[in-house]
């Protein structure tokens, strides 16, 4: 039997959730035995080369690029998992959500203390190569269907491990109290 295929992505996140995935220490060797990695920053595979069983999404969606990647993952993965607070609820990037995007951009490029007076052109970057910003940072499940959620900032290595093994083996996932945390 072929090994289940795993893909991962970081959208509007800090890569901390991926670091936590690596934090499963020597179990990473077990994981490599259990699964095959496809598209992921860990493998540097840029495009899906086959249909995957599980997709792990870190980070919410703050721009059009994030949305495309997320939709691509939805198309290519049977099971999609939001892992970490940013994927689940926007996380720290979503601090901007109550503020209109125009104000955010102006603060970042025109009026903020580090840019005021220095941005002579007065232009907010608008090259068409740059992804378009969304009006707010969206939790992933408010864009596509997400099957499972692993909270935490980052989710503990134990939670990630428990979840992955449960998904791979089809067993019930263990959720001891200390494993689910939002911070």
């Amino acid at each position: 039997m072929s090994k289940p295929v795993l893909a991962t992505a970081t959208l509007a996140g800090c890569f901390g959730c991926h670091m936590s995935l690596l934090d499963i220490d020597e179990k990473i060797l077990d994981l490599i035995e259990l699964v095959e990695f496809n598209k992921s920053p860990l493998t540097d595979i840029k495009n899906f080369t086959k249909k995957c069983d599980i997709g792990l999404i870190e980070g919410g969606c703050c721009n059009s690029e994030n949305v495309h990647v997320l939709k691509d993952f939805r198309k290519n993965c049977n099971i999609l998992v939001s892992f970490g607070e940013c994927a689940i609820m926007g996380g720290l990037p979503a601090f901007r959500n109550p503020i209109p995007i125009k104000e955010c951009l102006e603060e970042a490029y025109l009026n903020g203390p580090s840019v005021k007076g220095n941005n002579k052109s007065g232009i907010i970057p608008n090259d068409e190569e740059i992804p378009m910003m969304l009006d707010k940072v969206y939790p992933c499940h408010e864009i596509v269907k997400i099957d499972y959620f692993l909270p935490g900032c980052p989710p503990s290595a134990e939670l990630i491990w428990n979840a992955l093994t449960a998904l791979i083996t089809g067993n019930e996932m263990e959720l001891p109290y200390e494993v689910i945390k939002f911070d």
């Binding site: 607070e85 609820m89 996380g91 979503a94 997400i146 499972y148 109290y177 939002f182 911070d183």
Partner: protein
């Protein structure tokens, strides 16, 4: 001798003194009911609705309803627990609760309830409302993003003349708890500390202090909220 009455909780026979509120009666029988707007020593008001039980087939809040003789109370049922989980989820989406960046993470009752009820993600859409932080007062900060409008501060913190330091502002989804501009600036150390203490979340914070307890030693790091009750 006070009158003793009989009642059942999820089928279990229990006794209580007549006139006891359901919440207390249930707790005296070592059974847990989640609470949030309720605070020891303060008149209950039943606004968060999280302690809802089915008493004689009527939905009611345990913190405000006296237990009756022969009353049949449903507490730990899938229906009731789902109501409670829904309330927790509603509170998470109606405000801006960024746990990773909150000074009260690990000590917050709302977060602890979410842990206990295993909220992985709220079923409702996040609202991300625009809310302010009131930093005008010398001893406390009031962060409206995290306020769950439980009224615990409103009911507890009064000045020497009995005037409220905190009060509601507005109504409906935009309701907020405001700090009095005059009385807020005159808060004594004792009252300021009390205000911080009664707030179940990180909405009222002491100034110049924060993240005092290291992760791993915080109130809800190892044991779920309500662990003092056996069932």
């Amino acid at each position: 001798m006070a009158d003793i009455i009989n009642f059942t909780i999820d089928g279990k026979e229990c006794v209580a003194e007549k006139g006891t509120l359901i919440l207390q009666a249930v707790q005296e029988n070592d059974i847990y009911i989640p609470t949030l707007c309720n605070y020891k020593g303060v008149k209950p008001q039943g606004s968060c609705r999280i302690c809802t039980v089915r008493a004689n087939d009527r939905l009611t809040t345990a913190c405000t309803t006296p237990v009756g003789d022969g009353m049949e109370i449903e507490n730990d049922t899938s229906e009731i627990n789902d109501f409670r989980k829904s309330v927790i989820e509603l509170l998470f989406v109606e405000g801006n609760h960024f746990c990773p960046a909150c000074e009260m993470s690990g000590e917050c009752e709302l977060q602890a309830l979410a842990y206990r009820f295993q909220m992985m993600v709220p079923r409702f859409t996040y609202q991300f409302p625009k809310r302010e932080i009131d930093a005008r007062h010398p001893k406390i900060l009031k962060d409206q993003n995290r306020c769950i409008r439980c009224k615990r501060c409103i009911r507890t913190i009064k000045d020497e003349k009995g005037r409220s330091v905190f009060a509601f502002f507005g109504r409906g989804k935009n309701i907020e708890v405001n700090v009095d501009p005059v009385l807020g600036s005159k808060l004594t150390d004792k009252l300021a500390a009390k205000a911080v203490e009664v707030c179940p979340v990180g909405s009222i914070l002491p100034r110049e202090k924060g993240f005092r307890t290291p992760i791993g030693q915080r109130k809800f790091d190892h044991e779920p909220i309500g662990s003092e009750y056996k069932h």
